[in-house]
Symmetry: C2
Subunit: 310 residues, 2 copies
């Protein structure tokens, strides 16, 4: 099924305890599209870049089956730039620089061919931009997944809440879930957030895995413990891309299917962190992914065997 993805395409400067990399290609749409491209070839990207964004990067996405008709290229302007430094735990980071550049007045325009996409992934962007994309869809997609971050909760909560009412699934991290809900317990936070609109909530906990909430159901997927976590940048977006990519491929929106989608998202994210930027997720094969899914199965499976208790 077709998948429309809106998000940034950007340059990142990344510092981790293990090294430093400058002008790495990044952005939510980049990671989401790469991850989803292992599942579906009908990906339509909505984004904006400056004149500085390498054509080769766009060609790479096109080769993976993505359509870039909805990517605006602003002559004489610069692409979005982010710079950050990870702490030793790799689960927390400081933002050093955020240069909005082309993003400052981004007005997304959906090509006609995008407007009836079956699936829609609203990557982390201002709620206003997310809403503008939603409103241009001529048909309500079968599934709308939204990602956001604490920044928008701080400065655009009303807009965020308006978009929340229109989406099926929200993906945020644990601290953001606490901020958005005002509840410390993630179980309680999930209830509060699902009353805001999304029927499903995915709470991403980085190296501690991810939780999926729906109705009274709950599913947990661990992150794969790795020898080396090299660069967490984009792991959340890669997770989201694998998640919605799997659903778009199968078209199965049952809870059982969503669980598998969480595992595929986690598997893709586990590759992402192994190298700087998109380097690793550009180089994996279907065989790599199948093998990694096998590792998740091994990590999580046990045979429950009733035992008499006192």
């Amino acid at each position: 099924m077709s998948l429309a993805v809106v998000g940034t395409m950007a340059f990142d400067n990344i510092e981790t305890p293990f090294g430093k990399a400058e002008n790495v290609i990044g952005g939510a749409a980049t990671y989401i599209a790469w991850a989803a491209s292992y599942f579906t070839k009908d990906i339509k990207i909505v984004s904006v870049v400056g004149e500085d964004f390498p054509q080769s990067e766009m060609d790479g996405l096109v080769e993976r089956g993505a359509t870039l008709d909805g990517v605006q290229i602003k002559k004489g302007e610069k692409s979005f730039f982010w710079s950050g430094r990870y702490h030793l735990d790799m689960n927390t980071r400081d933002t050093l620089v955020t240069d909005l550049n082309v993003l400052a007045d981004f007005d997304p325009v959906l090509p006609e061919s995008y407007k009836s996409s079956d699936f829609l992934m609203l990557g982390n962007l201002s709620p206003d931009v997310q809403m503008k994309v939603l409103e241009q869809m001529t048909e309500r997609p079968k599934l709308v997944v939204m990602d956001t971050m604490n920044f928008w909760m701080d400065i655009a909560m009303d807009g965020l809440k308006a978009v929340l009412k229109k989406v099926d699934i929200l993906t945020i991290n644990d601290e953001e879930a606490r901020q958005l809900s005002g509840e410390h317990s993630l179980v309680k936070a999930a209830k509060v957030i699902r009353e805001m609109g999304p029927k499903y909530l995915v709470i991403k906990k980085g190296e501690h895995g991810a939780l999926l909430f729906h109705g009274k159901e709950m599913f947990f997927a661990p992150a794969l413990p790795l020898e080396e976590v090299f660069d967490p940048t984009g792991a959340g977006d890669t997770f989201a891309g694998g998640f919605i990519g799997y659903l778009a491929k199968t078209g199965d929106l049952s809870f059982e299917s969503m669980k598998r989608a969480i595992i595929y998202g986690s598997a893709l994210a586990s590759f992402c962190v192994e190298k700087f930027g998109t380097e690793r997720i550009k180089s994996i094969t279907p065989k790599d992914i199948h093998e990694r899914i096998g590792k998740f199965v091994t990590l999580m499976s046990f045979s429950s065997q009733e035992t008499s208790l006192h």
Copy 2:
């Protein structure tokens, strides 16, 4: 099979964001024995208390099948006392007071009937005391599980390493695993620690679950997400008690059995945190435990279904 347990029996003052409780009965041996008592009735406790320790608490353990012949009661002295305050995240805490009291010169003496116990749980105590208990065993137990904490790594690393050489399983938390190994990655930390002696390593991550390492195998059990975490005190000991209790009951030391033991330990710990001190784990029934195991199965299980990838 018989299970010998060495650890503290103590009073705790506990402050959490939700309340305060004073002179709560606690201590590693108390939590371990209560948790293990749901699995096996042949529990032999080694500990020391002051004259102030309530007889009713000891009677309660005896009713659950525990033998207290190895618990020294020091006339005119006071029991070990700990006071702590939990942070809002409930995963971290400050120790406010530690009064060793009877623990200061604890010299464990094993009754004859203890010396050939099949299983031995070395609860968190000074490595010297742990070693003294080990050395009094006339037969090497089928399984020795050791718990410890960062405090002993700071002041008694040599003694700790000597005990480590003699145990089968070490249970510590993630920060302690990092401190003990000098490695940030838990996968690398597990390798380093297993070279110190224990063939198995359990890394407890509190609300983020637990990892079991053995050879090239790895198993992950989540903590059950709860609406309310009331008091985390004793959760790690309760986990250890459920873990070794299950193994002592079944006598099955295969990796598959250890995985189930991790799940049982996690289930018992999920009860422990629901009320102050031992209140909750004293009141559960076999039915409660079976139901909770069912929740873990639901939380963790998914059907992997091969899908074609691009």
